[in-house]
């Protein structure tokens, strides 16, 4: 019986250990696996210009 309890204790601690490893893996922030992300407002070869006649923004 003592042996069974010991095995259970080891299994539970092992599970906790794995859980903490998953938590640690989030420490460095990066895009989700397999996601191709374009962060910026445009591609590297495009320089945006402002359509002044189109722009109607700003807080009112």
């Amino acid at each position: 019986m003592k042996k069974v309890k010991r095995i259970f204790a080891i299994l539970i601690l092992g599970l906790l250990f794995c859980t903490m490893l998953v938590s640690c893996s989030n420490a460095v922030i990066r895009p989700s696996a397999g996601i191709d992300v374009v962060w910026g407002s445009h591609g590297p070869k495009v320089v945006p210009s402002m359509g002044v006649n189109v722009y109607g923004g700003g807080r009112y």
């Binding site: 250990f17 210009s49 402002m50």
Partner: protein, 277 residues
């Protein structure tokens, strides 16, 4: 058994030591009350935190404290001691971007709403101490928007003063699609702005306008949420901005709304607007 306990203890110590990613803030600061559905936080994603921090510390009256923990570079932005934004370095990012974050009771729930309506997850939920649990999602036109659960220091773009956030607009390449999408995921009403002859819609939550949607005026730019900072002295700010390597898209000389708005790209191509209210 002993090995397991030691290993577990070691991981726990590492986890705790990773917590002070940013320094603590004063307990007696004034923070706006949290309202679900409002934009309450801003995070700059940048490929180079050091350069971005230097730029924004130069053009605004902001104090920026950087930290690096286990290879993750982060920073907390304060104005007069009050936290107003975060900065995260993602070395693989092709450009910088200001990401507005909306207060939500459940990051998990809003992530489900977004993805089931055509959005996707860009950054899985993460937590920087003194900010709150966040996730960065992408709308159907590629625009990024954050959601933050239990924000530690919610800001209010509706009541903020000088040098702080006052507004956020979606500059959309397809306003019909955007209005339909955000009406669903925000459970909000979209109302037309009658104060301008140009197309402009308000996102209205509980009778309050919490953001805007306009046709994207930046030719060549993708759809994106663009924030505004309150600057009372536009000529002074503009003179300082022109001395940097920012790229101005709209200056006060345009005369638009009496020259009260400046639109520019920071050195890493993040779009930002300043406005005198």
């Amino acid at each position: 058994m002993l090995i397991c306990i030691l290993a577990f203890g070691s991981v726990l110590v590492n986890e705790l030591s990773a917590q002070p990613m940013v320094t603590d803030v004063s307990e007696n600061q004034v923070v706006a009350p949290e309202t679900y559905g409002n934009i309450v936080w801003y995070t700059l994603v940048t490929p180079n935190l050091q350069e971005s921090a230097a730029f924004y510390g130069n053009i605004f009256d902001w104090d920026i404290n950087s930290a690096e923990v286990r290879g993750q570079k982060v920073a907390l932005v304060r104005h007069q001691g009050r936290p107003i934004a975060g900065i995260v370095e993602i070395s693989g990012a092709d450009a910088a971007l200001w990401v507005a974050s909306v207060s939500t009771p459940s990051v998990k729930e809003i992530t489900g709403k977004f993805t089931s309506n055509g959005g996707r997850v860009i950054l899985k939920a993460f937590n920087i101490q003194n900010t709150g649990k966040q996730v960065i999602l992408e709308g159907p036109l590629g625009e990024k928007l954050g959601f933050i659960e239990n924000p530690a220091h919610p800001v209010s773009q509706l009541t903020n003063g000088p040098q702080q956030w006052i507004w956020t607009e979606l500059w959309s390449t397809n306003t019909d699609l955007s209005r339909g999408f955000y009406q669903k995921v925000f459970n909000a009403s979209i109302t037309e702005n009658e104060k301008t002859d140009k197309p402009y819609w308000f996102i209205n939550k509980g009778g309050q306008n919490v953001g805007g949607i306009i046709p994207n005026p930046a030719e060549g730019a993708r759809s994106q949420w663009v924030p505004y900072v309150n600057i009372p002295d536009i000529p002074g700010f503009y003179a300082g901005l022109k001395a940097t390597n920012a790229r101005v898209l709209l200056g006060p000389e345009s005369g638009y709304r009496d020259g009260s708005i400046v639109v520019f790209e920071d050195p890493h191509n993040a779009l930002l607007c300043v406005q005198k209210l």
